[in-house]
């Protein structure tokens, strides 16, 4: 498990980006729930931590794709592939993330960069 941040330091409605590769975002919803999903939108290179959090849904800051924080599913296009969800554990006021072992759905530009090809 990777420590992210203290729950007290993450106000409701805010997100924390964990700078691992690929990055993961932790969201604290207005209802007080905490979720972790891949930070990179599956459509194009954008940080979902910078997006618009509403209920259990985050809207990509660039092209308005929406993802369900509970399942990672796409709720609105242009994205077509889900983001991964990651297990969240809160212990002694600290948020921990257990990163999924599935393969991430990275957008074409990021995937080619990671593979060493042209960005």
């Amino acid at each position: 498990m990777i420590p992210a941040c203290r729950l007290a330091d993450l106000p409701r409605g805010e997100a924390f980006r964990l700078d691992i590769d690929p990055p993961v975002s932790v969201f604290h919803t207005d209802d007080g729930e905490v979720f972790a999903i891949d930070d990179t939108c599956t459509h194009q290179d954008a940080s979902l931590a910078d997006g618009w959090l509403e209920g259990c849904e985050v809207e990509c800051p660039l092209h308005a794709s929406k993802f369900d924080l509970r399942t990672g599913a796409v709720d609105a296009p242009p994205a077509r592939l889900p983001v991964r969800t990651h297990e969240v554990v809160v212990e002694d006021g600290m948020i921990y993330v257990r990163v999924s072992t599935e393969a991430p759905n990275l957008p074409p530009c990021v995937a080619s960069r990671l593979a060493g090809g042209p960005a």
Binding site: S47, L62, R80
Partner: protein
């Protein structure tokens, strides 16, 4: 559903999501299933993504719709509640969603001249992509967003690019004078010529274009010309149908038209905007995605639901590697202030205000701050 692009697809999805279980017919004049248009002037034109990447439907999606594609709607018979098609067929319906979009305006006299392009559809983009691949001198007529994105893409492909804009400042309409000037300065940053305040008199060339002739007498040599002078709503087919038209289909704040059982969404729809107290036809991607939810609710309940206040209109543009984002209405603002960044760095968050209240926000490479302001704007103006 008359129209099979983003607005039509979104309406079809909304219908199923909101519990409509009956027969659903989607009519589209293009032969393609719904595809995403914004990349047509950017990644698709640059050749970094292909047509398959533009698909809007997901692999496991089943809307249980009948798709009538490649056939144009030619009329709406309000008595029969039927849509007439160009091939002679007619489709009767209990409810009709008009989502016929807009078509690129052309330059009078340019018909039949090779080398002259518009950019609206996938087929337009394919033709332009092939032309740009051959290289040469490109002249873009119109310094709006489509024109600017084409110029930016052509620049990355190594073409010699000139943009001609009739207004004194490009993008002044959507962004206002001050910020229009700052954003359109991206052209000069990259050695793309931007000629403002001069109209186009005509095009030179016999069968193939070889120049753009300006009203001040100059002639700009051209191998390829792109006409990016806006779009007109595709509503000719509704004339005489009883559906009230005024700069597109005239709609209430929930997309209802003057005819019961008929709503309109997307670029062809001129919705009443309660924020500004007037009708506004919005040609943004996000409007075509979001507004069908409200229009479908209105269609299913017809007046039994109170229309909500839509979020402020939002659009984005990518030019020369800079992410440009805008939300709200620039018209009517009495001040613009730079809240973050510096115009010279092309890294700016600017807020437009009217009598001290924020009415619009612009970001250049500021996605995080922009989203914060966009949320504030939705609260401030609702």
């Amino acid at each position: 559903m008359v129209g099979a692009s983003l607005a039509g697809l979104s309406a079809a999805r909304s219908l199923r999501k909101q519990g409509y279980d009956g027969r659903l017919v989607v009519i589209g004049d293009e032969p393609h299933r719904p595809y995403d248009r914004p990349p047509l002037s950017k990644e698709f034109l640059a050749g970094t993504i292909g047509a398959a990447d533009l698909t809007l439907e997901t692999d496991d999606e089943d809307l249980r719709a009948e798709w009538l594609l490649g056939v144009r709607a030619t009329g709406l018979d309000s008595a029969e509640r039927a849509v007439r098609l160009a091939d002679g067929r007619a489709v009767r319906a209990d409810g009709i969603v008009i989502a016929t979009g807009a078509a690129a305006r052309t330059l009078p006299g340019s018909e039949g001249l090779a080398g002259v392009h518009v950019l609206r559809t996938l087929d337009d983009a394919l033709a332009l992509r092939d032309a740009l691949a051959r290289g040469g001198r490109l002249v873009v007529i119109g310094g709006g967003f489509v024109g600017a994105e084409v110029a930016s893409t052509a620049y990355t492909l190594g073409l010699d690019v000139t943009v001609v804009e009739a207004a004194p400042t490009a993008l002044a309409g959507p962004l206002g004078e001050t910020m229009g000037h700052i954003v359109s300065a991206l052209h000069a940053d990259h050695g793309v010529r931007l000629l403002c305040g001069v109209g186009v008199k005509g095009l030179g060339g016999e069968h193939r274009v070889d120049a753009v002739l300006l009203e001040d007498g100059r002639s700009i040599p051209a191998d390829i010309v792109v006409v990016g002078v806006g779009a007109r709503p595709c509503v000719e087919w509704l004339e005489g149908s009883g559906v009230a038209l005024d700069n597109g289909v005239k709609c209430g704040a929930d997309g209802r038209t003057s005819l019961a059982g008929v709503v309109a969404v997307g670029d062809c729809a001129n919705w009443y905007d309660p924020r500004v107290g007037a009708h506004r036809r919005v040609e943004h991607w996000t409007g075509a995605r979001e507004r069908p939810d409200a229009a479908v609710a209105a269609l299913l309940a017809w007046g039994a639901v109170e229309p909500g206040v839509p979020r402020p209109p939002y659009f984005w543009s990518d030019q020369y590697g800079v992410k440009i984002q805008f939300a709200g209405h620039a018209a009517g603002a009495d001040s613009v202030t730079i809240e973050e960044g510096a115009p010279d760095d092309r890294n700016v968050l600017a807020v437009y205000r009217r009598a001290g209240r924020p009415v619009a926000v612009l970001g250049m490479n500021q996605p995080r701050l922009f989203t914060r302001w966009r949320k504030q704007l939705a609260v401030a103006t609702s």
